[in-house]
């Protein structure tokens, strides 16, 4: 019998999207008696950034942070989606009963490349101390956000094995480079699909340390209550509108495509022209804030306004509310990645517009179209007539969290080679 030593698994959370994706795994890890879960929040907080420098006589950094902090607070009142992430994360974690073992002050809301880089620099200088203090055995990270790169870099230098979820994917923007770079620093991989697994092997990762587990976000779908009965009451935006969620409706999300620049405006105009011809009720959800969003967000908001009571617009939605709409929509039109993944699992018909998701794996529920009003209308009509699809299991079966936790629990760290070798 081997002696069971409690493993310390550290997760780093940088924003609420991260939190949502890691939550099913963290819940499953918590049930493992041989794992201690440690949580680092890499988001700015008031104490570290203001009071600490002030006490230590560093006036300028303190004032600099205060100014930034106040502007974020003001923004959070103006725009509900802009809440101070650190406080939100801490609140959510404690609500779920998770520990917050460390907070590192990273500012990642600057919106410019320079702000992103200096944010990454702060992580580089502050996180090694926390890893050492916590005595992490494994670092568990998710995805491809830019701020993961310094985290992975520090762990690799400190000889802490890295477990990486969602490697081997293909996408656009800087995420593509970050994802593959993190793969080369990581020791254990949890890709979502078989295809991603094959790509990881092509990148020289050892097949023995690649575990296809599916997408953890799907774990949440199984426990979501999809009834829309109380949706009106919870979302006051419906007051005064005649939207009836028990009648067919289309769900619209259109994110700006950072590489398309001014063409985003034309693309959205074409989409809107098509939408006026689609006789369904429409629920429009605001886009992300990537470059180009004013070209896509504002026209869609005005479009929803002009459609009298047949359309509503949400700037953002709670995740569970979003899944309820996605599950119940007759058809989803736009370019959100959730249309490829969650919608495949839920079986919602999708009309994927444009090339934002080019190269991404997709299920049978997706019809891809270019920016052409006639074609968008025709495809939407066809998808509406087709009705719901069978649930497509290619992105997972809703047990990813448990499977990842099982692998981590049974892993013998002493047998894990920290020296990476190119597998060929």
């Amino acid at each position: 019998m081997t002696i069971c030593v409690k493993k310390k698994i550290t997760v780093v959370i940088t924003n609420r999207a991260d939190y949502g994706r890691l939550l099913p795994i963290m819940r499953a890890i918590r049930t493992k008696p041989n794992i201690t879960l440690q949580v680092i929040i890499a988001a700015p907080n008031f104490f570290n950034n203001f009071l600490w420098p002030l006490r230590h006589g560093k006036l300028f950094p303190a004032l600099h942070f205060l100014w930034w902090h106040l502007s974020i607070i003001v923004l959070s009142y103006l725009d509900a989606g802009n809440e101070v992430d650190s406080n939100y994360l801490a609140r959510m974690l404690s609500k779920e009963g998770f520990p917050v073992d460390a907070r590192i002050p990273m500012i990642h809301k600057g919106g410019s490349a320079e702000a992103m880089i200096s944010g990454a620099g702060v992580v580089l200088t502050t996180i090694p101390r926390e890893f050492k203090r916590l005595g992490s055995d494994i670092l568990l990270i998710y995805g491809d956000r830019f701020e993961l790169l310094p985290v992975a870099m520090v762990a690799a230098m400190l000889n802490i094995p890295i477990a990486h979820i969602e490697g081997g994917d293909i996408s656009g923007t800087i995420d593509e480079s970050v994802r593959h770079a993190v793969t080369k620093l990581a020791h254990i991989h949890f890709p979502i699909t078989e295809k991603s697994r094959e790509r990881l092997i092509k990148m020289g990762e050892h097949p023995k340390r690649i575990y296809v587990c599916g997408m953890p976000a799907l774990d949440m779908l199984g426990e979501t209550n999809y009834s829309l009965d109380d949706f009106y009451i919870q979302n006051s935006i419906f007051q005064g509108s005649q939207i009836n969620l028990h009648e067919p409706f289309a769900l619209i999300i259109y994110h700006p495509v950072t590489t398309r620049g001014e063409e985003n405006r034309t693309d959205v105009e074409i989409l809107i022209r098509a939408l006026t011809r689609i006789p369904l009720q429409k629920i429009v959800i605001g886009s992300n804030r990537d470059a180009g969003s004013s070209d896509t967000l504002d026209p869609l908001w005005h479009f929803a306004l002009t459609q009298e009571n047949r359309s509503v617009f949400f700037k953002s939605l709670e995740v569970s509310d979003f899944y309820r709409l996605l599950k119940n929509a007759s058809v989803a039109v736009g370019n959100s990645s959730s249309f490829l993944r969650e919608a495949a699992y839920l079986g919602t018909p999708v009309v994927l517009v444009g090339d934002r998701q080019q190269g991404r794996e997709r299920g049978t529920n997706v019809v891809e179209v270019l920016h052409d009003a006639d074609i968008i209308v025709e495809a939407t009509q066809k998808q509406f007539e087709h009705g719901r699809y069978e649930s497509d299991p290619r992105f997972g079966d809703g047990t990813a969290g448990t499977r990842i936790a099982d692998v981590l629990a049974s892993l013998d760290i002493s047998q894990l080679p920290i020296q990476k070798k190119f597998y060929e």
Binding site: E262, R265, T266, E269, I272, R273, T276, R277, D298, P299, H302, F303, L305, T306, Q307, E308
Partner: protein
């Protein structure tokens, strides 16, 4: 504002407008100046009345356009915008303008009529 099927420059002629309106299937077009500032609107009805009064294909549209065009300011609140839209249920094209009266984009309110 480039290549929009819903706008036309004020120095265009009736012939140009006929072409744009035929293509956009909305029975109207928003008129802007060289700086994209909102000038007016020309509808099918305006064209018909002008032709009855003796206008030709070469008549410039600034002579026949309707300057009382309904628009929404991008800074308008949702409530204010909704009120304007409700009061003017008849308009099929909604120009959205910025603080300098420049047309940012035009939202078609109804499906195209073929």
């Amino acid at each position: 504002m480039k290549d929009s099927p819903y706008t036309i420059k004020e120095d265009a002629t009736i012939a140009d407008v006929l072409e744009v309106i035929t293509e956009n299937h909305h029975g109207a077009v928003i008129v802007v100046d060289s700086d994209d500032q909102l000038v007016g609107v020309v509808s099918d009805g305006d064209l018909r009345r002008a032709l009855v009064k003796g206008a030709t294909n070469l008549t410039p549209i600034f002579k026949i356009l309707n300057p009382n065009v309904i628009s929404i300011r991008e800074k308008n609140s949702q409530k204010e915008s909704a009120r304007i839209l409700k009061e003017h249920i008849e308009i099929t094209l909604v120009p959205v303008i910025d603080g300098n009266n420049r047309v940012r984009y035009v939202i078609p309110r109804t499906p195209e009529t073929h």
